[in-house]
Amino acid sequence: MTSLLNSIDTGHEDMIHDAEVDYYGLRLATCSSDHSVKVYDIKNGAHNLIDDLKGHFGPVWQIAWSHPMFGNLLASCSYDRKVIIWKETQGKWSKYYEYANHDSSVNSVQFAPAEFGLILACGSSDGSISILTYQSETNNWDAKKIQNAHTIGCNAVSWCPAITPEPAFDSNHVGPMQKRLVSGGCDNLVKIWKEEDDKWVEEKKLEVHSDWVRDVAWAPSVGLSRHTVASCSQDRRVVIWTSEDCQSWSSNILQTFDDVVWNVSWSLNGNILAVSGGDNKISLWKQNLDGAWKCISDVTKGQATNNEQRAL
């Protein structure tokens, strides 16, 4: 049975583009076309506005929470070409770092798994991806850029979970963890990137989509070294990519939906995928024992406010 836990009136003056809860699910951050980012306390079912962050001068597309090991940080990216990292001190949020080295709208921000340190990836309409790494010695952010990652623009980035590579022969020699990213863009491609000798290189180009790729999400890893990535596109398809080694990937088309698919999101342990798109539905997908992906439930819009919500 499904029920509505609570509804939070954000007070945003225009559309919301992202709503993310922090690591423990105790706080909610939203961002909107009204240029603002808002943070709420949602502990115990309540919702209190903690802060209204103003610093962007354009619609704010996406937000990301850092791992609590690095304190309370929130990253946001906007049409104004900027990425802002906000920091909370004594209950107050303030601008901590601003990155303005993109030539067009920044569409996606994601913090890397905490095991790698405090690192943020940003994907922009200028086609490049920036990787910002916090240097604790100098208290500064070091930026690396993947130029021309996607022609016409990069729409989404997502990090590969930190997996310790299996020691092949010598169990005493465990290699360093490999940093990887997946990105999706207006060139209809999904690309896998890895860091090699301090540089980011393209590891794999995944071609199946026939229109702009709108979102990509690397699944949290359950199981030892199997990688799963979901991508969705304006071609109305969601593709699940799997690989053992990040070299050879097999694709599995989830379904062709009735409309453009905008978002894909994995549950915490990567066993359920939420898909939402222009058909105004959120559907939940799960892999069964035979490896096939099945829709397990829908969440969809209501007709009007005077209608009671119904669980069918």
Partner: protein
């Protein structure tokens, strides 16, 4: 979306309707949904058409987990205990392993029974919506108990020759105790004398007969005022002589069948001679026990469920029926009673047919996998599951998937998470990976919870999680200005940078206030101080500080010289350290040997660049060194 059983949940919001929606995951069973309409860098930079439709809200949608209701807490905890014991027994594989499994099954059932009783008590006290919820739970767990009991008989219990009728009757009696209760009341003597005048007398007699309670039937008949008449005596005689099949009674099935047929013929002839016709109920009973169709049609309405009729009918017509033959008989009873099949009926039928469908049906029960997990785990260990799957490996996979899901569900709950981990431990290897993902997400609201998370992480060798939790707690303490506590957490997190950072804080505090905070903690640092160079310095400095306070100046001086000579002194601490040195150099008693002083001088020279900030101090310290050197040299020349 091939499956029509998909559940759809509607969000009551106009903006969602007109704009569209998007969702992001929160915790395990929650999703945040908000109105969403994709615009991008190429859209016109202007307020969207939806601005009028404010407010725009975020909706948190939750998948309801029945098991999280506090009233079921005991069920969840106690069944975990049984589950874990079961796993231990299975690992050790004792010789009487099968018997153990049956005991576990009974234990599970008694936990369900206890919950049901508790629910029945509570439902009387509850009101409104809560009452409805509890009533719903009762329905669910009543079904669970009923199905489990049947599965135990069919798949778990080791019944010789698969002759199940006795067990089936027990099952039916347990779930339909009405007649037994009435009979007990009637026989209690409270209404003796005019028993048959009671409206429910014959109903009870026949009810008991249907449940195979022949002894009770005879006792009830003997209370009838006509009990001494010939036809009553004859009926009693027939009931008494009715053969019953029991493996331990030393009679083979063939021999039993012979006796049974003989008794049937005998009874039938008595019925045919119309010996019971004067008492229509007695006549009906006799026709029932010889399996006369017409008679059974007359009484079947007295049965609440088809399986009640099934057990009764088999007892009198197919007493040696085998467990695997039940399916066909069940179907006949169902069509006979014209039962409209509900979910419970379908599951029971599937169980009797030994059909794999039962797994599907049980999964559809709405108690979030408690039932399917525990029963399938048990059936897997009884080697029953593999009969439904193509091979053993598949059945293991199936069992794993249930335990995994259940573990995940519990692990996502704020107070049941530890239970969830225990289940995940028993589905290797995915279980550990899931723990790795879920454990760090357990919201930590106090330190005792942090300790518990760390303990669970360490138990499973997930030290990186333990370290990260400790680090987060350390940061929290620091934010609350509890530096000692922060340092303790920093040490647990094995984060040397963090430990250094805190050590600096301690030292700075000393520079500012002249007081070293948390001296108790520092005195116990011991080998922990090896975590970082700065912490070693802090530890050593504390030792010096203590010696100085205790007026052991000579030792203090030695400690100070070694501190200064070490390369660990932070820049901001030099002036403090040198001021301390100055007091020792200028002490009346000669504390430092010429060697010490040379070392000191060397160190000062090496760090001249830091000292330039200490204009005032430099001449003083040089003077102090020179004076002490002369004293030391003179002294050493005289006495060595």
């Amino acid at each position: 979306m091939e499956d029509e059983n998909l559940k759809t949940f509607l969000i009551p919001n106009d903006l969602c309707k007109s704009a569209g929606i998007a969702g992001t995951w929160m915790s395990g069973n929650k999703i945040g949904v908000f109105p969403y309409h994709n615009i991008n860098h190429s859209s016109k930079d202007a307020p969207s058409q939806y601005t009028k439709n404010v407010p725009s809200s975020v909706f948190h949608v939750k998948h309801e987990v029945v098991l999280f209701h506090p009233i079921l807490r005991r069920l969840v905890t106690e069944s975990m205990g049984i589950f874990l014991n079961l796993q231990t027994v299975v690992e050790n594989k004792p010789s009487d392993y099968k018997q153990h499994l049956q005991q576990f099954s009974v234990q599970y059932r008694s936990v369900i029974r206890a919950s049901l009783e508790n629910l029945r008590d509570e439902v009387l006290r509850a009101t409104g919506e809560e009452r409805e919820t509890l009533q719903n739970f009762i329905t669910i767990f009543y079904s669970v108990e009923c199905i489990w009991h049947l599965c135990e008989i069919l798949y778990i219990e080791n019944i010789p020759g698969h002759v199940v009728i006795k067990h089936l009757l027990e099952w039916v009696r347990f779930h339909f105790p009405k007649y037994e209760r009435k009979a007990a009341f009637l026989l209690s003597g409270e209404s003796i004398g005019s028993l048959e005048s009671r409206q429910d007398y014959w109903e009870t007699v026949i009810g008991c007969l249907l449940q195979g309670r022949v002894e009770v039937v005879r006792a009830l008949l003997s209370c009838h005022s006509a009990a001494n008449s010939t036809h009553f005596k004859l009926a009693d005689q027939i009931l008494k002589s009715m053969p019953t099949y029991g493996v331990y009674e030393g009679v083979s099935v063939q021999e039993f069948n012979l006796r049974w047929k003989h008794w049937l013929v005998d009874t039938q002839s008595k019925i045919d001679s119309k010996l019971f016709i004067s008492e229509k109920n007695l006549h009906l009973m006799m026709r029932l026990i010889v399996g006369e169709e017409m008679a059974w049609s007359e009484v079947q309405s007295q049965c609440e469920a088809w399986y009640e009729l099934l057990a009764a009918w088999l007892f009198y017509t197919e007493p040696t029926v085998k467990s695997f033959e039940l399916g066909a008989f069940a179907k006949r009873c169902i069509s006979r009673m014209g039962t409209r099949m509900h979910h419970l009926d379908r599951v029971l039928l599937a169980a009797m047919e030994g059909d794999v469908q039962i797994i599907k049906e049980i999964q559809h029960m709405t108690e979030n996998g408690w039932f399917v997990t525990h029963l399938m785990d048990l059936l897997y260990h009884c080697e029953q599951l593999e009969k439904w799957q193509t091979d053993k490996e598949d059945s293991l996979k199936l069992r794993h998937s249930f335990v995994f899901e259940y573990g995940n569900t519990l692990a996502g709950h704020k107070s049941l998470w530890q239970l969830g981990l225990n289940y995940l431990d028993h589905c290797f290897p995915d279980g550990l990976a899931a723990i790795e993902l879920l454990l760090p997400r357990v919201p930590i609201n106090d330190e005792s919870k942090a300790h518990r998370v760390i303990q669970e992480a360490q138990k499973r060798g997930l030290s990186h999680i333990a370290h990260s939790v400790a680090k987060i707690e350390g940061l929290k303490s620091l934010r609350n200005d509890r530096m000692g506590n922060a340092l303790v957490w920093a040490l647990r997190s094995q984060d040397s940078n963090f430990a250094s950072f805190l050590a600096d804080k301690f030292l700075k505090k000393y520079v500012d206030t002249g007081i070293l905070p948390n001296v108790d903690l520092l005195s116990y640092l011991g080998s922990c101080m090896m975590a970082s160079d700065r912490l070693i310095f802090l530890g050593k400095y504390y030792q010096f500080n203590k010696l100085h306070k205790d007026k052991s100046y000579r030792e203090a001086a030695k400690a100070l010289v070694s501190l200064i000579a070490s390369k660990f002194t932070p820049k901001f601490f030099w002036s403090t350290l040198l001021s301390e040195a100055l007091t020792l150099l200028e002490c009346d008693e000669l504390l430092l040997s010429s060697n010490d002083v040379f070392n000191l001088l060397n160190a000062v020279e090496e760090r001249l660049d830091c000292l330039c900030e200490l204009d005032e101090l430099e001449p003083l310290i040089r003077l102090g060194i020179a004076r002490n050197l002369s004293r030391a040299l003179t002294y050493e020349a005289q006495y060595t």
